[in-house]
């Protein structure tokens, strides 16, 4: 299973292969747990969020479409969303926002060593991009994405008009998009 690309791994998940699930876990669990822990700050709830995200992939593997994004992106989005649900004390079925299904161009179809190298490059790029944008823009995005706050809550917390918060979020994501696109990490 180690060398399987995402579509093949997804096919194995659909077939009910526990080995495939174990491989998916071994590939991304530290990253998934890191995301959950950053959002929740609570190891026990982070475990629950990660478990539920993996189960979501396991039970929904038949809907995986490699053209829409990678298994990794799907998994991490699920981890983040479930963690935010925990943070806000709501059930997953109450989620009104659409699922984030980004289309990062990453190492899904590459071999295992390349996957590691590519992941490292992507992470470096994302962190560089975030540090390159103004602090107040980065703060707005991080409070929303990792803190689970709404734009209105962020406006109240930071004591700036709601329109300013919206603008900061927009600018931050536009810059992040441009930065990643410039490095060939997102589709045009």
């Amino acid at each position: 299973m180690e060398g399987l690309a995402d579509p093949d791994l997804a096919a194995a998940l659909v077939a009910g292969s526990q080995d495939a699930l174990a491989e998916l876990y071994d590939r991304y669990a530290p990253l998934a747990y890191g995301v959950a822990l950053r959002v929740l700050g609570d190891p026990a709830r982070a475990e629950d969020a990660v478990q539920e995200a993996f189960l979501k992939i396991w039970n929904g593997a038949s809907t995986f479409d490699a053209r829409r994004g990678s298994l990794r992106t799907w998994l991490l989005t699920a981890v983040r969303n479930r963690s935010i649900d925990y943070l806000r004390g709501r059930a997953a079925h109450e989620r009104q926002e659409q699922e984030l299904v980004p289309e990062l161009v990453e190492a899904g179809a590459r071999s295992d060593p390349w996957r590691q190298v590519s992941l490292s490059l992507e992470r470096t790029a994302v962190r560089e991009a975030l540090t390159s944008i103004p602090a107040e823009q980065r703060q707005a995005v991080e409070l929303a994405f990792f803190g689970g706050y709404t734009h209105r809550e962020i406006a109240d917390m930071t004591r700036v008009p709601l329109s300013t918060v919206k603008g900061r979020m927009r600018l931050a994501l536009e810059k992040l998009s441009s930065y990643l696109q410039g490095r060939g990490l997102v589709d045009v």
Partner: protein
């Protein structure tokens, strides 16, 4: 500012999941119909999807791997390929008093009598396990455990993985516990001995997949009570809130 301009200004917040519920639905409808906002949403969503990569790797507890694989096996009703060990079994405790705990004898004896009587009564009252179904295979058996009284909305599916000697219990609809309390699973023999099998706290959805790391051989009923946490009790201290036949 036009409605479009107002909503367009919230696209970034929307892809970050940072709008209120009502506004999210409004945004969804608008973006479905507005090519400009849809294009922006797609572009910004790609960027937002990269944000998890800003988090640091953190090694999860070793038990989480087994939890995930166990829950996955339970969710599809397939055989687990690796035996999970989250809830370690504790020494079986008979519901008869021990010589060294004379002071607790009446409590244990009463608890044993109450539990057996109530469970038997519940069976007679058709409260439990009515839809228990045995699959044709002899390697996996399923049973239903249902709640009553304060846990009337709770249900659990017991999946007996005979070849692995473990049992998975998939709980749903459990109410939140009071602080310091846990749910405790009991396996009960036909002569009324209740052995503690697992303790757990459900997640915020009232769900939990619990591992009972022992065979159901020799037991006729499964019951659930609320006990003092984190370790639970040696014997039930209240009436069973969930129960079902496991034979």
């Amino acid at each position: 500012m036009s409605e479009h301009e107002e909503l367009e200004a919230s696209v970034a917040a929307w892809v970050l999941g940072a709008v209120d519920t009502d506004e999210a639905e409004l945004m969804r409808v608008h973006i479905d119909a507005c090519a400009i906002c849809r294009e922006a949403a797609v572009r910004l969503r790609r960027a937002a999807g990269a944000l998890p990569l800003a988090a640091d790797d953190v090694a999860p507890p070793a038990r989480l791997r087994e939890r995930v694989l166990t829950a996955a096996a339970a969710s599809r009703g397939s055989l687990a390929t690796s035996a999970p060990r989250r809830n370690e079994p504790r020494r079986p405790v008979r519901m008869t008093p021990r010589a060294t705990t004379r002071a607790r004898l009446p409590i244990y004896a009463a608890a044993a009598a109450i539990l057996l009587a109530l469970v038997v009564g519940a069976v007679a009252g058709d409260l439990i396990g009515r839809d228990s179904v045995r699959p044709p295979t002899s390697t996996v058996a399923r049973f239903a455990v249902v709640g009553n009284q304060e846990l009337a909305g709770a249900r659990a599916t017991v999946i007996d993985l005979k070849s692995d000697g473990v049992v998975l219990v998939d709980f749903n609809g459990l109410p939140a516990l009071r602080s310091g309390k846990v749910y405790e699973v009991w396996l009960i023999t036909s002569d009324g001995r209740a052995d503690p099998a697992a303790v757990f706290v459900p997640d915020s959805n009232g769900s939990k997949v619990v591992l009972v790391n022992r065979s159901l051989e020799g037991y006729s009923l499964m019951a659930v009570t609320r006990e003092a946490g984190p370790a639970g009790s040696d014997a039930p201290t209240e009436q069973p809130q969930m129960s079902g036949t496991i034979t």
